[in-house]
């Protein structure tokens, strides 16, 4: 049996799955310490399902904690952003195009120094000892321990990043350093952004992973624990201490995958309605449709693979204004249970409207009896129109697709949706994210330096793909379900003319 946990900003959901079957599911509130929220959810499902701790083979956790930290500009650490690439890019320092509030949230010490490589393997410039020493002095002076380093053409040759990191480590042994080449592919600014965001999250990542691990341990769950990545695969929880940025967007991925699992629909639109926003995504062949364009996270360009999600400001806690003509984007969020009319508060929210219309029986329906009938009707219409319009924009090739409603706020949809060929409200829709985490896939990655002079390109890619498949199978993937999701070739020009680094990532279903 497996446990899937989704630690969101408001709720911590947990499920126990046996094969494909949901044995137990619960929704608890996320607590400030994260630990007690997880503990509460675990207590609940284990007793609900009558399951003993030793019967659990693995725990899979999905979390939006790190994405939320970036979007809300909180829990970010003071850090240094080091760019190696002068004299190119003079006057174009790291973070030049970041939103001002994000820049001030990180308040990074910025360093630009000489070094890096050119496309043909020649040095762009030599690293300079005086610049490295000045960097180390500045880090020490302000006691900065978290550092991001990005150098020009580092996916081709990472030596400058490695050398500067080594020098910093020698002087500041406790330094935590993210190197941009670990985030792959060419595109210096996007790769550097990913590296900086990752660095800013490192102390928070240590705290969150500690919380996860101690919650599991306290509950006697000593099985392996994994955390889901944005491409729908899993990484060990310790790996997240170094690469929290790899969890970005795993939330929507899990909710889409969970919706697929709950309905078996391979092609559908998934509408995940929470307290503040609705995330609308598309399932294609059972997988999230990916975004092609440079994805921004909290207003910052990055190079992550992400599902194509459109978020609108409509959720259970959305404020209803202008006599029902406007719903959201402001929301009371998780304070709904204190501020909503039906909970004795004095803010008119989307949830109050649904109760007033008699569609749901939540809280104290008497407190919304006096609401104007027209306002209630208009507000309902506003909400449905908002969703219909977004679904229209997302649906592929103008085809009408079934719509799967998931998330706690899905009660807001009462009248059906015009844009949907059919509407599904699967059982356990409220915990789709946790289910998605529990069925997360197994990835395998292989990288080889090959020469297209000695081997055809087709053979070379086939060769590396095979190596990646073997790794995925070894990690527990069902061989029949494995497919390549990323093939990356980097020419290594300073070797022979055909020298290329080929990297392939494959994913497959967990063999059960």
């Amino acid at each position: 049996m497996r446990i899937g946990i989704d630690v969101g900003g408001t709720h911590t959901d947990a499920v126990i799955l046996e094969g494909d079957k949901v044995i137990a599911a619960t929704k608890a509130l996320t607590t400030a310490d994260v630990v007690s929220g997880i503990s509460n959810a675990l207590d609940e499902i284990l007793s609900m399902g009558g399951v003993k701790e030793h019967q659990i083979e693995t725990v899979m956790i999905g979390t939006t904690q790190f994405t939320n930290a970036v979007i809300e500009r909180r829990s970010l650490t003071r850090m240094a952003a080091v760019r190696i690439g002068l004299p190119s890019g003079k006057g174009m320092p790291p973070m030049i195009d970041w939103p001002a509030d994000m820049k001030s949230a990180i308040n990074a010490q910025v360093h630009m120094m000489h070094g890096g490589y050119l496309y043909d393997g020649h040095l762009l410039a030599e690293l300079r000892d005086d610049e490295i020493n000045a960097l180390i002095n500045d880090l020490k002076k302000e006691n900065i321990k978290n550092i991001s380093i990005a150098s020009a053409f580092s996916p081709m040759n990472a030596q400058p990043e490695l050398k500067v990191a080594q020098a910093i480590k020698a002087a500041i042994p406790e330094a935590q350093i993210t190197l941009s080449h670990e985030f792959g592919r060419l595109g210096l600014m996007e790769r550097e952004n990913a590296s900086i965001l990752n660095t800013a999250l490192l102390p928070f990542a240590a705290k969150v992973v500690d919380a996860f691990q101690s919650a599991l341990k306290a509950r006697g769950l000593n099985c392996p624990a994994y955390i889901s990545q944005n491409d729908g695969t899993l990484m060990s929880s310790d790996f997240v201490r170094q690469f929290p940025a790899l969890t970005f967007s795993s939330g929507p991925t899990n909710s889409l995958r969970g919706a697929f699992k709950l309905t078996g629909l391979e092609d559908a639109i998934v509408v995940d309605i929470g307290g503040t926003t609705s995330d609308i995504g598309v399932l294609q062949g059972g997988f999230p449709r990916e975004s092609n364009v440079v994805v921004d996270i909290g207003g910052i360009r990055t190079n992550f693979r992400m599902p194509d999600i459109m978020a609108i400001g409509l959720g259970g806690g959305s404020l209803v204004t202008e006599n029902g003509k406007q719903v959201g984007p402001q929301s009371v969020g998780h304070r709904l249970v204190e501020e909503g009319l039906i909970f004795g508060g004095d803010t008119l929210t989307a949830t109050d409207i649904i109760v007033a219309a008699g569609d749901e029986n939540i809280g104290n329906p008497n407190s919304v009896k006096a609401l104007d009938k027209k306002l209630v009707q208009d507000a309902k219409e506003t909400m449905h129109t908002m969703l219909d319009r977004t679904i229209e924009m997302m649906k592929p090739g103008g085809k009408s697709l079934p719509v799967i409603l998931v998330g706690g706020g899905s009660v807001l949809v009462t009248d059906g949706l015009k844009a949907a060929s059919k509407l599904y409200r699967p059982k356990n829709a409220g915990v789709a994210n946790a289910i998605g985490a529990a069925i997360a896939q197994v990835g395998g990655e292989a990288e080889r330096l090959l020469s297209y002079r000695q081997m055809t390109r087709e053979d070379a890619i086939a060769n590396v793909t095979q190596a990646a498949k073997l790794k995925a199978v070894a990690a527990g993937a069902n061989a029949d379900t494995i497919r390549a999701i990323d093939i990356e070739e980097t020419a290594i020009p300073y070797m022979d003319e055909g020298a290329t680094r080929v990297r392939v990532k494959v994913i497959g279903e967990l063999a059960l």
Binding site: G85, S88, G89, K90, L118, E290, N292, M393, M394
Partner: protein
């Protein structure tokens, strides 16, 4: 917004850059970073006057400025704010004459904004137009030399401030020499070349393309959505412009893409598989730009007509260096300005000039 702009300001840059990627047909380099440096230049020096070709005085002294290199390089070797302006300063010193205005090599990609960055820093106007109406890989393919303008004397600057000057007999020789310098200098240099009188600019420039690119970018932003929904609005816009025809020729998933920096260009190909799996794959040949699109032997579009690959879901055009395995895309073909279908232009831009053994057939006749 009126059709013809008189100034380029911060508010135009996003649309200009977006439109320029569509017109770049995969090449020209991502204008994102050039746009950032241009924004810095405009913030520091103010907006840039845009000079309509018909308002140019015959005796003006105008120089073209832009980057020469392989687009892939621009992903890593970042330009600096001063580079373009310093190139012009050095050129003035070299030639002993003040520059009155600058013009663009090509509207496609980063070179749509580099002249604006340089003009802002120098406090001079930029001409509303360019030397290609799109992007093309080589200097002799520009409308200026096709119209009889000499590219040299020319001067090029690399990222480290090293510079070279050129005085060559033919444009082809110039292209080989500056390409060799670009390759030796990290794969991307800034060049000032094609010094012209106002009269020559009027006679040879593809007019109005900066204004048009802003308009095209605005349309792509406002109509953002799945590629088929963009076809009608794009057709309408292009029909009433110097380009004419525009069609959606293919939709599918990128199943292979390979390019390498060879001889200073990004060279390779991409294969797109139809979503339904029923049509033949579309094969795209690349030399910096998308040059030829075909299914088996059937040509769907070829240079000098424009081939543009966009993100299927949003219609955002994708640069060649960012085209990747697994992307879901749509391919648009657009007619090129009439100038490029003339006999003297086809001599240097027909498919055969790129080694493809086919004659050019205009999009409307395919």
């Amino acid at each position: 917004m009126s059709d013809i702009l008189t100034h380029i300001d911060l508010e135009h840059l996003d649309d200009l850059a977006m439109g320029s990627v569509f017109l770049a047909t995969g090449g020209g380099g991502d204008p994102y970073v050039p746009k950032l440096i241009t924004a810095e230049a405009i913030k520091a020096h103010g907006r840039v006057a845009l000079l309509s070709p018909k308002d140019i005085r015959d005796e003006m002294f105008i120089v073209t400025v832009g980057s020469v290199g392989a687009p892939t390089v621009s992903l890593e070797l970042l330009p600096s704010v001063q580079e373009a302006a310093e190139t012009l300063d050095a050129y003035e010193k070299f030639i002993g004459r003040k520059i009155d205005a600058v013009a663009s090599f090509e509207i496609g990609g980063g070179n749509s904004v580099i002249p604006i960055c340089a003009a802002a820093a120098k406090g001079i106007p930029v001409v509303d137009g360019d030397g290609m109406g799109r992007a093309l890989p080589e200097a002799q393919m520009m409308s200026y030399p096709i119209g009889g303008v000499k590219p040299t004397p020319a001067l090029a600057y690399d990222y480290a401030g090293n510079r070279a000057t050129f005085d060559t007999d033919t444009t082809e020789t110039y292209e080989r020499h500056i390409r060799a310098f670009s390759m030796a200098a990290g794969g991307m240099v800034t060049a000032a070349e094609h010094a012209m009188t106002g009269r020559q600019v009027k006679d040879t420039i593809i007019p109005g393309t900066i204004s048009f690119s802003v308009k095209l970018g605005a349309l792509l932003r406002q109509k953002r959505g799945q590629a088929p929904s963009l076809e009608a609005p794009l057709q309408q816009l292009f029909k009433s412009s110097i380009y004419g025809e525009c069609r959606l020729i293919y939709s599918g998933k990128v199943i292979d893409k390979t390019t390498r920096v060879i001889g200073g260009y990004d060279i390779g190909e991409a294969t797109i598989e139809d979503f339904s799996g029923t049509e033949e794959n579309l094969l795209i040949n690349i030399k910096n730009e998308y040059l030829l699109a075909r299914q088996d032997d059937r040509v769907r579009a070829s240079v000098p007509d424009l081939i543009t690959i966009v993100d299927y879901e949003t219609g955002t055009p994708i640069n060649g260096e960012r085209l990747r395995y697994g992307q879901r895309v749509a391919v648009f073909a657009t007619g090129c300005p009439d100038f490029y279908r003339s006999e003297k232009a086809l001599k240097v831009v027909a498919p055969r000039c790129f080694g493809f053994d086919i004659d050019f057939v205009p999009l409307e006749e395919l």
